[in-house]
Amino acid sequence: MSRTGTNQPLLQVENLRVEIPGRRGTLVAVDDISFAIGEGEVLGVVGESGAGKSLTGAAVIGLLEPPCRIAGGQILFDSRRIDNLPYEKLRRIRGRHIGMVFQDPLTSLNPLYTVGRQLTETILTHSDLSEKGARKRALELLQEVGIPAAERRIDQYPHEFSGGMRQRVVIALALCASPRLIIADEPTTALDVSIQAQIITLLKRLCRDHGAAVMLVTHDMGVIAETADRVAVMYAGRIVEIGPVADVVLRARHPYTEGLMGSIPLVGHDVDRLTQIDGAMPRLNAIPAGCAFNPRCPKAFERCRQARPELETVEATEAACWLYEEAPERSGTDG
């Protein structure tokens, strides 16, 4: 693996398009999105249900469930195209270099094997350690993810662990091959608040220690704000805003991001009404023309209904919104 070309990002997604063919026509779930993740960077991908964020994650690791399929664009990992690789080759790259953490820790673990055996086997397939060495490494990993009494718990089965502890095991499993990229899909959603905080802290520390890049897919802005370096906000299959996390969270540019942030209640903020985005995310078979957000947007004008905006640099972030285009039409807004 060549690690040269440091200016190249680790993961590069270009014009990715994911389609779901159905008998009433083909639905476009992810529509022409591009983003990149650098070495050791945490990119948060945030959006509400139906935004296409999970499908984006699945497309990157080649785990799209049929009939969903990649219909356009390319995915480059370490400057190598991985979206068109045959299954076996992709599987090898996935095992070695890309780790995965899913929402439900129970489904990621085999209930019939002890935690230690699952870890050891994964380590053995990706390194030339001896059986003993692999077990030692497994133990270290369990200790690293903060499992108390790891020496005893390594020989227990997944059902003997609590939800939070299971998610730690899954993270340890993802770390087995020392991957350079970890894709985490809603890793904290199924957990209690206090456990959620623990897992976020753990993820942050591990990325720092291992230098792994993370693509963190979640609906929870709080998790993003705590963890991510940069954040991409998705709406109806498109990225509407992407930029450094502090800029997006505190100074959102796109009206959707702005509304989303305003709709989150905060402890200590005494407001009678939360900012409300009326309506709901459009269904995939009824995505409006132009900017997909225009029917719900308080600032929409004629242009928004006609043409789809592309991502444009707006100060520190990039937003796909006609408000930020240097065009004379701006003065002629209706309403």
Binding site: D192, E226, M261
Partner: protein, 354 residues
């Protein structure tokens, strides 16, 4: 119009819960007990919980999964029978109402909103029939046309169109379904709504819509809410009073703003610390240690002692009794003995945006 009322002078109490307890029998089947000599196993889901809800106010119960908050909600609406304790509605013990007509009269005064908008509506019923069910069950209105008019009115009240009544639940999004659920709950003109995590299955922007709707309805109709949630920010936004539960016990309750500003119980402080920092203040977070133990064999004394940084010998031995605070009550030996550092959570800087 909202005059600051001292907490102690809760005079107009609509619902009062007194020493409420619920034990679930989670024993293995009789045959296994007889053949393998296994014992009966009882799970204490709710343990001696008492609180009062003033008329027109929102009382929230907050806590992590397994703390018993949902069980309290189900006890209050009568889905479970209490093992011990009383639930008083306008001073009358609800368990004492045995006469049919009286029970029905009481039933229509309290309703419930559920967590999962996809499971709380019968998928085979039209929305208009779902909403009309309480009206028909209690014979509140006679005649098809009058019922249809009332259903349309309810749909509009929750922000849907009267014509939506013709559709089936699967034609609606999660947020719209929750509106239908609210319309059904309002159909019998209740005074008291028990809301069990009504927004936790929804996206944030939809959550905001539902929370705004619930607040508006409360103001319009003078509703009283018992609100169950695990999300402290939501609870802070909607509540007048908050109770914090841990492993079946109410460890602290009080007036919402005061409680969040000066949390007393170490568990309350821990929960507040666990909220993600969305204002990017860089406030250091002390991650909470440990996990919630099994409610089948809870720790001795104060249930929280294994995770509590202030635990002492007494905490392991003896369960703390409620103690009056500025905001309400707290059950903690450390607070009682004055061993806890007083914290005042700085009010966040005024919102910079907009």
């Amino acid at each position: 119009m909202a005059e600051a009322r001292p907490v102690q002078a809760v005079d107009d109490v609509l619902v009062e819960v007194e020493g409420l307890a619920k034990l679930f029998d989670v024993s293995p089947p009789l045959l296994n007990r007889l053949l393998q000599g296994q014992k009966r196993v009882l799970l204490t889901a709710v343990d001696d919980v008492s609180f009062k809800i003033p008329r027109g106010k929102t009382f929230s119960l907050v806590g992590e999964s397994g703390c018993g908050k949902s069980t309290v909600a189900r006890l209050v609406v009568g889905l479970h029978a209490a093992t011990r304790g009383r639930i008083l509605f306008e001073g009358a013990d609800m368990a004492g109402v045995t006469e049919r007509a009286e029970a029905a009269a009481l039933r229509k005064r309290l309703q419930m909103i559920f967590q999962d908008p996809y499971a709380s509506l019968n998928p085979r019923w039209r929305v208009s029939d779902i909403i009309a069910e309480p009206i028909r069950a209690h014979k509140l209105i006679d005649g098809r046309r009058a019922i249809a008019a009332r259903v349309g009115e309810l749909l509009e009240q929750v922000g849907l169109a009267a014509a939506d009544g013709e559709k089936f639940p699967h034609e609606f999004s999660g947020g719209q379904r929750q509106r239908i659920s609210i319309a059904r709950a309002l159909a019998s003109n209740p005074e008291f709504l028990v809301c069990d995590e009504p927004t936790s299955a929804l996206d944030v922007s939809v959550q905001a819509q539902i929370l705004n709707l619930m607040k508006a309805l409360q103001r319009e109709l003078g509703l009283t809410y018992l609100f169950i949630s695990h999300d402290l920010a939501v609870v802070y936004h909607i509540s007048d009073y908050v109770g914090v539960m841990y492993l079946g016990r109410l460890v602290e309750w009080g007036e919402a703003k005061a409680l969040f500003r000066r949390p007393q119980h170490p568990y309350t402080r821990m929960l507040l610390d666990a909220i993600p920092d969305l204002e990017m203040t860089g406030r250091p977070r002390i991650p909470v240690a440990g996990e919630v133990p099994s409610p089948i064999a809870p720790p001795s004394g104060c249930h929280f002692h294994p995770r509590c940084p202030f635990a002492e010998e007494r905490c392991r031995r003896e369960a703390p009794q409620p103690l009056a605070t500025a905001a309400g009550e707290v059950s903690c030996h450390a607070v009682a003995e004055g061993r806890l550092p007083e914290v005042e959570r700085a009010a966040p800087p005024a919102a910079t945006e907009t």
